[in-house]
Point group: C2
Chain length 337, copies 2
């Protein structure tokens, strides 16, 4: 077993800096595309054998120091019955977006252990084979609520924000309900064997500071408090570098930063017992190998010897990323340290 990632997550890594990449099992890999030709995306998320196979692809191909479960944050909304499909051009589509507080009231109660049991089965298969730690994950309550209201990716989140401001009580009701589903889903993942959990509250960075506090942070805190004694929790928000102090205040195991952040400077203001992860701009992977290694070196030099640093991107890998660039990056990071 390779313990570099878990040691870094516990801020006591004395070896080289570990690396994994958000969305490391994805369309940029030819092996992934070959599987996608045979299966729909959701089918790949639903079948334990495929979860197992896809999750392992980047670990085998590139020697990543951690695996992240192949899954999707929208499986919880799917289990809540709002209808989900993936459209190759527009991304995820919620077929029956929430439009009123009565839509929220009529959402069913779900039990992750029953309704999302295929995830636990995938994790158990993985734990029988993997030689690196396995990261489970879930979306944050605000992000899941946004998808369920917008129905599709809309960066402005106009409907969501208008609902939130017009009727905060029903919006909080939705967030509370989702928060319990997320905790249930992650508890199931922990029992099945994940070694760490990452919360993707990807859309929370679109919120103004007071609303981030009220509609995202409080729920993230609840999740961290309920899980942290059983498993380290990593928080990721796009835009988190603007909310560093707030995220640190709820004491997660780690914060995963987007590419805006000046990580060596942020390290100096983060409490020493919080690990941190990031933050190469995924666009850098479209540049030449010398630029990729140069930018990686800038990060690695700035954080050399830090016992709590995990190398990653600032966001998920783009589907059109050259696979050789990923290989070059991973090799460079592993040899550097």
């Amino acid at each position: 077993m390779n313990f570099l990632f878990l040691d870094a997550l516990n801020c006591r890594n004395k070896g080289r800096i570990p690396i994994w990449l958000m969305r490391q099992a994805g369309r940029y890999m030819p092996e992934y595309r070959a599987l996608r030709e045979k299966h729909l995306f959701l089918q790949m998320c639903h079948e334990p054998e495929l979860i197992n196979e896809v999750t392992q692809l980047p670990v085998r191909s590139f020697g990543m120091d951690a695996a992240i479960l192949f899954s999707d944050i929208l499986l919880i909304p799917e289990a809540l019955g709002v209808g989900l499909h993936f459209n190759d051009s527009v991304g995820p589509v919620i077929e029956r977006p929430l439009a009123s507080s009565s839509d929220i009231a009529s959402l069913p109660r779900i039990q992750a252990r029953e309704d999302l049991s295929y995830i636990a089965k995938g994790i158990r298969l993985l734990k029988g084979c993997l030689k690196v730690p396995l990261i489970g994950f879930a979306g944050g309550p605000f992000t899941l609520a946004s998808y369920m209201i917008e129905g599709k990716t809309d960066r402005t989140l106009r409907k969501t924000k208008q609902w939130m401001l017009r009727d905060p009580a029903s919006f909080h009701h939705l967030l509370s309900l989702l928060c319990e589903c997320i905790i249930g889903c992650l508890e199931m993942q922990i029992e099945a064997g994940i070694d760490a959990a990452q919360i993707f509250d990807s859309w929370a960075g679109t919120l103004a500071w007071p609303q981030f506090h009220e509609f995202s942070l409080g729920y993230l805190q609840k999740i961290v408090q309920r899980l942290k004694t059983r498993c380290p929790v990593i928080l990721f928000c796009k835009g988190a570098s603007a909310f560093t102090q707030e995220l640190a205040s709820i004491h997660p195991g780690a914060i995963s930063f987007d590419w805006n952040a000046n990580l060596p400077a942020l390290r100096r203001v983060l409490p020493a017992n919080i690990a941190f992860q990031g933050n190469l701009d995924p666009d850098i992977l479209h540049a030449s190998k010398s630029v990729i290694c140069g930018e990686a070196a800038r990060l690695l030099n700035g954080l050399r010897g830090d016992p709590g640093y995990i190398f990653n991107l600032g966001h998920g890998i783009h589907p059109d990323t050259p696979v050789d660039s990923v290989r070059a990056l991973v090799e460079y990071v592993k040899e550097f340290s």
Copy 2:
């Protein structure tokens, strides 16, 4: 003359907190829409009489404490001959986007005083009528370069970032050339009578920290240094709250913050001689009047008595904002202090 805005910009305001709103002369106003029915957007930017008329609309309707010149950041690219039109559904379109370093080399040298003289004429007309200070503006070099390369609004800036990483020398050449045009345009505006200048480097917040430093900040610094003895300069980047220390390090007159920022907390880390502006989320203006006033009160209470604070939004007003909400906000802010 109302001096509240200029006093705040000089960090010595002892009166009430001044207010103006980004894109305050815009489609949300019925008077503006009536003019747009008779004129194309670019025609309105090109004709001094229309510049004068449109700029004054929100000052007359709402009693704003400052006017911002009605103009567009893309008039410099237009003068550089890349072709510009505005499409109501997709926004601005550059007809001949830059595709190679030879496209950059063949851009003409322009003289703002000749090629953009209609802007100066509009300013001179305004200075004969306005009873509040007039803010001139220009786009930042990185933002103008992005539009000229992408050809249209594309939040990912993939082409721009790939060019920047693949061929930084030609990208710097473009930035330097734009920087000189921007300085020329703002010097012309200063000579015509503007009281302050705002730089909109709206897209720079999409950059990773090292690239923000290299491809945005250095040029902003050059602009600030060249102009600051003649006129206070306000810097605005979407995402600026992640780059507060960097923006403060080049000593602008003021920083205009997007809505992510916790302004009262940022105030404590900003040097006392830098003014600051912002940062109500423009989405708040779609909420009820009690929410609008409540959120405004939160900001005003947090910054009460600060001699360098200017109330504004965190971004431009949305075109579908209810005009009564804008009126209610301005009245509330003016009565609060």
